[in-house]
């Protein structure tokens, strides 16, 4: 009985998220990130005279740098709180996760702090990406032969 009461009280006081507003915000911020990506690809391939494939690699490096720098300067956290998935799903979210782990554990030492914990938040992306790519690659070899 007590537990049920507590549950209902918790539910009453949990702040209600405005889903529609959140979706609109993340659509526009995410769309802006996509726009920025395409713009950077075009700028790089136009001014440096390189193929689109290399230009897109440059674009990813630039976005990772932007994410790392703004996280280190301290205001990317507020942006993520506001835009949520609009900034988490793009590659800047990956950079943000790495950078905040690195900043937080830097004071615990170089090897045991920074080195051991840098992938604390972003590691799951790499681990599950590699494992799933391996499994899907095996399936693809079995089904259509490479």
């Amino acid at each position: 009985m007590e537990k049920k009461k507590y549950q209902s009280m918790v539910e009453k006081h949990t702040p209600k998220e405005n889903t529609l507003f959140n979706c609109l915000i993340s659509f526009f911020i995410g769309g802006f990130m996509g726009f920025l990506g395409q713009l950077l690809v075009d700028l790089y391939s136009y001014y440096l005279n390189i193929p689109t494939k290399e230009a897109s690699t440059f674009m990813i490096i630039t976005l990772v740098f932007i994410g790392c720098l703004f996280t280190a300067l301290g205001f990317f956290d507020k942006w993520v709180n506001f835009a949520k998935c609009g900034l988490i799903i793009p590659i800047t979210g990956f950079a943000h996760a790495m950078m905040s782990a690195a900043l937080e554990y830097r004071k615990e030492g170089l090897v045991t702090g920074l080195g051991a914990n840098m992938f604390k938040l972003a590691g799951s992306v790499i681990i599950f990406g590699v494992v799933s790519a391996y499994v899907f690659g095996l399936l693809r070899i079995l089904i259509i032969g490479g």
Binding site: T19, S26, F28, G31, L63, C85, K107, G129, S132, Y134
Partner: protein
């Protein structure tokens, strides 16, 4: 036109993530992981390549492109070396993003202090 496509594609991916985040108890870490696996799944049958052709940079910005590039690099070496190629080429295309993230966060963590 490709700018409009990239806005649409990246925005829709972010909205899907936002809907999952709002309606379930999953954390942002879960959601990025789900999207990486989704990207790898979509590319294992060459569906994501069509998105990249359609939306250009907009399809390369979301984290789904990370899974796409992982399996893409692996499949390139599989064509030359068979099953062993799965182990050899997986990081060929993604290394830029991972190395950039490691180097920048390593250097910047020496310069800046964490802020509360």
């Amino acid at each position: 036109m490709i700018y409009l496509n990239s806005i649409l594609f990246c925005g829709i991916i972010c909205v899907i993530g936002q809907i999952i985040l709002d309606n379930t108890k999953l954390t942002p870490g879960h959601i990025t992981t789900i999207f990486v696996v989704l990207g790898a799944f979509l590319d294992s049958f060459n569906i994501y390549d069509k998105f990249v052709l359609w939306a250009g940079g907009g399809a390369l910005v979301p984290i789904t492109s990370f899974g796409h590039l992982l399996i893409h690099g692996a499949m390139d070496t599989v064509n030359n070396f068979g099953v062993m190629g799965l182990f050899m080429g997986m990081f060929d295309l993604t290394s830029s993003g991972i190395v950039a993230a490691i180097i920048f966060s390593f250097i910047l963590s020496f310069i800046f202090k964490p802020q509360d």
